[in-house]
Symmetry: C2
Subunit: 111 residues, 2 copies
């Protein structure tokens, strides 16, 4: 298989929802804390792997959303797993700046 | 506010998707491992709080799904958080039997 074929095979093995998206959990590799739940399109997943940091699909802005693009708080990719039925992703990341949430908190799950 | 009003207020503060569901991450309170990503309806969230262990909405079977109902591997609820924009839940759980996945593995994210 070519690299492109391999990537297509991997992408096709995932279950994309009716909007072509899959939920992606980001977990801090150092602390184990769950930082964010965001969404990925096929393109954003390919970009995440290519750039080595998380690139999501923003459902509100309807465009690719490079996590940290404004703040510099990139999520450096350490590993990606999928679950038993292939309908969710788990990213292990190094959270630059220690801040994952746009509210300035360490993580989005604070309430 | 009555208890019922309080619960309604809390439920209404969450963002439910077009199918009336919200994604719920279960994380092992002891190991910090992310075990599962499943979905909750309003009813399943109320049942989770009432019973003290995770009750999800099975999208494939289109019914309430008490995690562990067949295996006895209940996810005992320790805490529930929501994220900054209220469109995801994070459950901290004690995973009975140490097995969260129907494949017999400790967690669903093994691939």
């Amino acid at each position: 298989m070519s690299d492109l074929d391999e990537r297509r095979f991997w992408l096709d093995a995932l279950k994309w929802d009716e909007n072509g998206l899959i939920p992606a959990i980001a977990q801090d590799v150092a602390t184990g804390r769950v930082l964010t739940l965001a969404w990925m399109s096929r393109e954003s997943l390919l970009e995440t792997v290519a750039r080595g940091h998380a690139v999501y699909w923003s459902r509100s802005r309807r465009r690719l959303w490079e996590k940290g693009e404004e703040s510099g708080h990139f999520q450096i990719l350490k590993s990606i797993r999928t679950d038993c039925d292939g309908d969710a992703l788990l990213l292990s990341v190094e959270q630059l700046g220690g801040i994952a949430c746009h509210t300035g908190r360490e993580r989005c799950f604070f309430r």
